[in-house]
Amino acid sequence: MSLSLLSAVLVGVGGMAGAVSRHTVDQRIVGKWSTVTVNVLGSVALGFLVTAPVGDAAVALAGTGFCGAFTTFSSFAVGVAELADAGDYDTAARYAFGTLLAALVGVAIGGAVGGTVG
């Protein structure tokens, strides 16, 4: 994707919706499970978008914008670091690698579905 004003606007608008949606999930699911939820759901959706026959504009809006902002690495990493700071290495490891496993399975499932509709 080359840098263009249209792509930038689509990414920004998608990011706006993704951040608001993540915040809404945060208010309904307490604790780390909200971050797990957004990261896994967003990975499934992005896995779908990159294999489904959608155009560049849809990838910019829904993929780079929405899924990119709906999911978050910084909140996840800070959560892992806080658990480690508190000495709870077991929970930190399960959080870190459980999220990874679920997200990669999610990407595979989303990608398989996206490839099927293509």
């Binding site: 930038a8 993704g18 780079t64 902002a69 978050t72 800070v78």
Partner: protein
């Protein structure tokens, strides 16, 4: 949740996604995602331990920094790499991202 607070998250999300897009054009591929994830994790760690304003937290923390970093792009890029490349990508994002977050928490907590 009042609407002005939701607007702070929305504008922060707009700015964060746009900055991430700019970074991905400047540094294409997994390297660009690694850069935003590590940088964003450090700044978020610093921010949440040094700024207490709820409105600032909503704009910069929940909105901008959380949208600047991304897990979904990281996961999709990891899956698209070779097994060795994917393992290196996970190792780099996790080791550097967690270290950056821990450094940020320590740095912000001292201020």
């Amino acid at each position: 949740m009042d609407r002005s607070e939701l607007a702070l998250v929305a504008f922060g999300g707009f700015a964060g996604a746009l900055l991430r897009y700019g970074a991905s054009v400047a540094i294409p591929g997994a390297g660009g995602t690694l850069a935003v994830n590590v940088l964003g994790s450090f700044v978020l760690g610093t921010f949440i331990t040094s700024v207490s304003s709820r409105r600032a937290q909503l704009f910069f923390g929940t909105g901008l920094l959380s949208s600047f970093t991304t897990y979904s792009t990281f996961a999709v890029q990891t899956a698209s790499l070779s097994p060795m490349g994917g393992a290196l990508n996970v190792g780099a994002n996790y080791a550097l991202g967690f270290a950056a977050a821990a450094l940020g928490l320590a740095f912000g907590g001292r201020r």
